[in-house]
Subunit: 238 residues, 2 copies
């Protein structure tokens, strides 16, 4: 007997059974849950099938598994959410609106201490720096202040960023990377206020993001959004 018969696959049935039990509190956080062997006997499926169910629950953060010990109901401490950071150009186009970018700066300059640390270069080393304002239907939506490691994207200064966003360009140079980010709310500085056409001190949503490709820092960006015009939405489970 194999193949998905009626509604769902076997591993999904096992998974749902355990999920239901966790939701009902049948296993309190930290408590030992049934072993693979027990579930094999209970559901009459092979161990690989049970293993897949448990592995996916682990990936979702619902259970913790320790080799040689067992599977435990996860603590409730935190929940993981999936936050989708899109390329702004695509996001705007998808809304059926028009995106354009104003390039206020695109230059080579020596890194100050803070930038040097974030890009993993020596203070004073030359790095690339862009300052770009992205607009949706002519309304400023994001002020992108970005520093780039020249070793990773040597042609960065030659790119026409009115035609492609730095994010998208860098994704082409290094399609896979790790990132760290910090979200915060800040009052607009005088310069930011001027660039975004808002009042000085207005609340802004700020994302600072550093990306790393194979251990080498690629770029560090500070993305400032007018609070009244920009939100980040998402959903997650559990």
């Amino acid at each position: 007997m194999t193949g998905p018969r009626a509604a769902s696959a076997s591993y999904l049935k096992v998974k749902q059974h355990l999920k239901d039990g966790l939701a009902e509190g049948r296993w309190r956080p930290g408590q030992l849950m049934p072993s693979e062997a027990e579930l094999v006997a209970q559901f009459g499926v092979s161990r690989m099938t049970v293993n897949r169910a448990l592995r996916e629950l682990q990936a979702e953060g619902l259970v913790e598994r320790v080799q040689g010990v067992g599977t435990f109901a996860a603590q409730l401490h935190h929940v993981s959410s999936t936050l989708t950071i899109r390329d702004l150009h695509e996001e705007i186009e998808e809304r059926g609106h028009r995106h354009d970018a104003q390039v206020h700066l695109q230059a080579r300059e020596p890194a100050n201490a803070a930038v040097a640390h974030r890009l993993g270069v020596k203070p004073g080393a030359m790095v690339f720096h862009t300052l770009i304002v992205h607009r949706e239907n002519g309304v400023a939506l994001q002020c992108e202040d970005r520093y780039v490691n020249p070793a990773v994207a040597p042609d960065y200064l030659g790119v026409d960023f009115t035609r492609i966003t730095p994010t998208r360009y860098l994704l082409q140079v290094a399609p896979i990377w790790d990132a760290e980010y910090v979200l915060s709310a800040c009052p607009a500085s005088p310069e930011e206020a001027r660039l975004l056409d808002i009042a000085e001190g207005d609340a802004c949503l700020v994302i600072e993001r550093r990306t790393v490709f194979r251990g080498v820092p690629i770029t560090w960006a500070r993305l400032v959004h007018p609070g009244v015009r920009y939100q980040i939405a998402g959903r997650f489970s559990p």
Copy 2:
């Protein structure tokens, strides 16, 4: 031959090989990638092993798989990030600081139209409403304005929220749920400014979150944080 020999498991080797190829641009977004059968031949492993590697890459958003067609390199459109939303009490205690909560409101009241819609009840139906300020070492960190569906947490009004946070209490009532959230930056309202001991109009980081348990709305909360005192940090890969 089986078991993890030297450094890593077979499925990890297959996975890393494909990840490297994607990073180098060997397969451009949308392009067809090797089939399971090809990878089986190339690596000399079983199909289940290759399947696991591909399934995990799919879960990570690096490839897209279509039954009957093949596996494709994913588009670069977006990246998924893991944002960890912790229980504020635990977060503060973990920093070695002291958390306390000031309960400004804990009452039953009729839902207005907006709240009724978010909690899936009729306008005018009675719901629970709490307004709590959380402090770290005596400094206000979060103003939590929360509405709760009485059907899910009937004992909500009897809970002492100076001893347990609403988030943690609700996790006990419904350990597993789905959530939607919106992040934004807003100026502090007069009331928020008073509660958080900041100036009116100061930039605040706002999280609005709605959670659903088995299709039934549990709670909707608006969490307002002083921008100067609160940040959300995280990391993600790819």
